[in-house]
């Protein structure tokens, strides 16, 4: 399955359309205007155009409430955790492995932090450190299952997610950890505002910045992409692909841990199921992000753009008093539309390419 995804996304790159764009770029080489035009092409940032469309539509639809700075705050504040969760997926997906357990890791770290703060007299930094340590342990187990034991990543992380869920039930009895002790320092992790934005927004931006630097400007980033594009070719060229995939699952769990602690702090409690609600939105944002900025690659700013686009749409619908089902419908439509735009850039979907994808999926 993971191979299929990569086939789908990777085929976005070198087709006739791109070659034409390349020729245009070559012809305008050295001209900043040409580079800017290429960067702003709908092929690179279609979500930006969708975002502009959203802003225009809702500025007319809800003129009193949507076109305000408060909407920017609301979109970012209410989607910071989704952004962190989506970023946690970007690295393993770039390295051609799925991590379906991230949502359970979020729940686990939230419950762990709340437990140590509420039930013990542990200082908050120690509780947070333990929770992040637990997240890394989950990442390690995922890595052993997927990389060492060679279990398909989708099935393997689904299984570890189930084990995490069982562990949470064992510890909490499936009841939320609620205590007056969670009011104060613990709640400040996620509820403190700076310049109108809650701290998780800044966590999201910092994580995105780090991912961007690592993926774009370091040899490690290029090795991760190489592993994701063609694992066997990368291995034959000397890249330690197993190590890359191992570490990508560790990184995923760590970032999911940050997301889980932030979510738990925002809610003011340790909910045993808090993270599972983020499974689909995070994947939607990550896949939408993979069609943006660096089309065909899971990337940090594309993911953030995806989160903001989906968040702006759902917030606009809520401000326009749309029915409760509208948000999920919007997310689905945007995701299909964005992937359709990317698919247009690919070679015609012949039977051969379909077979190729199926072979990739089978072999993964």
């Amino acid at each position: 399955m993971s191979a299929e995804v990569h086939e789908t996304l990777n085929e976005a790159a070198p087709d006739a359309d791109s070659l034409e764009a390349g020729r245009t770029a070559v012809s305008s080489e050295g001209h900043p205007a040409g580079l800017i035009l290429r960067a702003l092409s709908p092929k690179n940032v279609s979500a930006v155009y969708v975002l502009i469309l959203i802003i225009i539509v809702f500025s007319f639809w809800a003129p009193d409430t949507f076109p305000q700075f408060a909407t920017v705050r609301q979109v970012l504040n209410s989607n910071a955790v989704v952004g962190l969760a989506a970023l946690s997926l970007a690295i393993p997906l770039s390295a051609r492995v799925f991590d379906l357990s991230f949502a359970y890791t979020m729940s686990l770290t939230g419950v762990t932090t709340a437990h140590f703060v509420a039930s013990s007299n542990w200082p908050l930094p120690a509780a947070v450190a333990i929770a992040l340590g637990v997240a890394l342990l989950v990442g390690f187990i995922n890595a052993v299952v997927v990389v060492v034991m060679r279990v398909d990543s989708m099935i393997g992380t689904l299984a570890t997610g189930s084990i995490i869920s069982a562990f949470i039930t064992f510890v909490t009895g499936d009841t939320s950890i609620i205590s007056g002790k969670l009011y104060g320092g613990f709640s400040e992790i996620g509820q403190t505002t700076r310049f109108g934005f809650i701290l998780p927004v800044y966590y999201m931006l910092v994580v995105a910045l780090v991912l961007w630097v690592v993926l774009e400007y370091t040899p490690l980033g290029r090795r991760i992409y190489a592993t994701g594009f063609n694992t066997e070719a990368a291995r034959l060229s000397g890249i330690r692909t197993k190590r890359i995939q191992f570490c990508s699952l560790l990184a995923s769990a760590f970032i999911a841990g940050i997301a889980g602690i932030s979510l738990s702090s925002i809610l003011g409690s340790g909910s045993p199921t808090a993270g599972t609600a983020y499974l689909l939105p995070a994947f939607a944002a990550a896949f939408l992000g993979a069609t943006q900025i660096k089309a065909g690659r899971f990337n940090a700013w594309g993911t953030i753009l995806g989160v903001i686009t989906l968040g702006a749409g759902t917030t606009g619908l809520a401000l326009a008093t749309a029915p409760p089902w509208a948000g999920n419908m919007f997310t689905g439509v945007v995701l299909i539309a964005a992937l359709a735009v990317t698919t247009v850039q690919r070679k015609p979907s012949t039977g051969a390419s379909l077979l190729s994808r199926l072979r990739g999926a089978k072999g993964s």
Partner: protein, 379 residues
């Protein structure tokens, strides 16, 4: 070729635009279903006075337990009860409360944990049929899920009492406390607090969880009280789908309040909807919006004490759990059960001024245990 590709790209963007328009056109104002009296008129001074009187009356800690008739027969010891827990932290608290009563009576309590799903609840009832306790207590579940097991339990002579459910007592279900009728006053008190606090001119939104039918009576009395006591108030209802719980409830409420800037009061059908809400309102700069709900947990109590929440109507966990045990005492001693119409559930509006604790839940009636022990004749 280029033309077709561009056309397809355009069609994708058009699909998004069409979806937005369709959704907004289909849905505008649907979410805000519900009525509301018009605002902008003259304040109903009589209604306002009545609302203030209600708030004053129910801001005082109650002293009366639901049951009143003493039991004259000797209460047998050694009875075995089973409590089917609904899988929430509140149910865990309920189990602890019931155990404090059964310990005093010399009875044993087995708590069967479920996650509240029908299959787990049904499995719990099948365990009951295997264990054959003397009595079964359950909370906030629907008997339709376990009707065959309930009938079988009845045939086996197992007494059954329930709390906080729409289920009606009959031959198989002996006693129900926390019926919709008994809980209806909660909506009245929430509305009265909103009216009194606003000086009789509130714009409010009632946040409903219509999937839980038991909350329907709370919504009805909220709306009725608004209509009866506040001609100058307007209210609306926002129904939250259950799939939003633990996910985007705060965002939905913030969006509603931003879309309706006159709304300064948010009335929650249950404080279970409060998780993350004070923080979301604060982050959105909606610092002048007051929130009241029902059934606070420790987080809500801390929010009230810290000024992030205005008020909450306390849920009578201790009183209702002890009332269920009381029904078992009556059934085991052959004492007639009290008529549901004669049972008054205590209510208490909690604010920062009268909060007895901000760190743990507490009984509404301070000496609830002692009063029941006296009723049962146990020391």
């Amino acid at each position: 070729m280029q033309f077709y590709k561009r056309a397809r790209r355009l069609s994708a963007v058009t699909a998004v635009a069409a979806a937005l328009m369709l959704v907004a056109a289909c849905g505008s104002d649907d979410a805000a279903a519900g009525g509301g009296s018009g605002g902008g008129g003259k304040v109903d001074t009589k209604g306002l006075a009545e609302a203030k009187a209600l708030v004053k009356q129910y801001s005082v800690r109650p002293t009366e337990i639901p049951n009143k008739t003493p039991i004259t027969a000797e209460v047998p010891t050694g009875k075995k009860l089973a409590f089917i827990s609904c899988g929430t932290s509140n149910c865990t608290l309920e189990s602890d409360i019931i155990k404090s009563a059964t310990d005093q009576l010399g009875w044993t309590l087995e708590t069967i944990n479920t996650d509240g799903t029908p299959e787990k609840v049904k499995a719990a009832w099948q365990q009951v049929l295997r264990d054959k306790p003397d009595g079964v207590l359950y909370s906030a579940t629907d008997r339709a899920v376990f009707e065959p097991e309930l009938q079988e339990a009845s045939k086996a002579g197992i007494e059954v009492a329930a709390c906080c459910t729409l289920d009606k007592p009959d031959g198989a279900l002996d006693y129900v406390i926390g019926t919709p009728q008994q809980s209806a006053d909660v909506g009245k008190l929430i509305a009265a607090w909103v009216i009194a606090d606003s000086g009789g001119s509130a714009d409010s939104v009632y946040i409903d969880l219509s999937v839980f039918k038991i909350l329907g009576s709370v919504r009805d009395t909220y709306e009725q009280t608004m209509d009866d006591l506040c001609g100058d108030c307007s209210y609306d209802t926002l129904d939250i789908p259950i799939t939003s719980l633990g996910k985007d409830v705060p965002d939905k409420i913030v969006s509603y309040v931003r879309a309706h800037p006159d709304v300064k009061y948010v009335a929650l059908s249950t404080d279970g909807l409060s998780a993350g809400l004070p923080a979301a309102l604060k982050a959105a700069g909606l610092n002048d919006v007051k929130v009241i709900g029902e059934g606070p947990d420790e987080t809500t109590l801390a929010d009230i004490a810290g000024g992030q929440r205005a008020a909450s109507v306390a849920f009578p966990y201790y009183e209702e759990m002890y009332s269920m045990v009381d029904s078992m005492v009556r059934l085991f001693t052959g004492t007639p059960l009290e008529d549901s119409a004669d049972i008054a559930i205590p209510n208490w509006i909690l604010t920062a001024d009268n909060l007895p604790s901000s760190t743990e839940l507490f009984p509404l009636v301070e000496d609830v245990k002692e009063q029941y022990f006296a009723l049962w004749g146990v020391s």
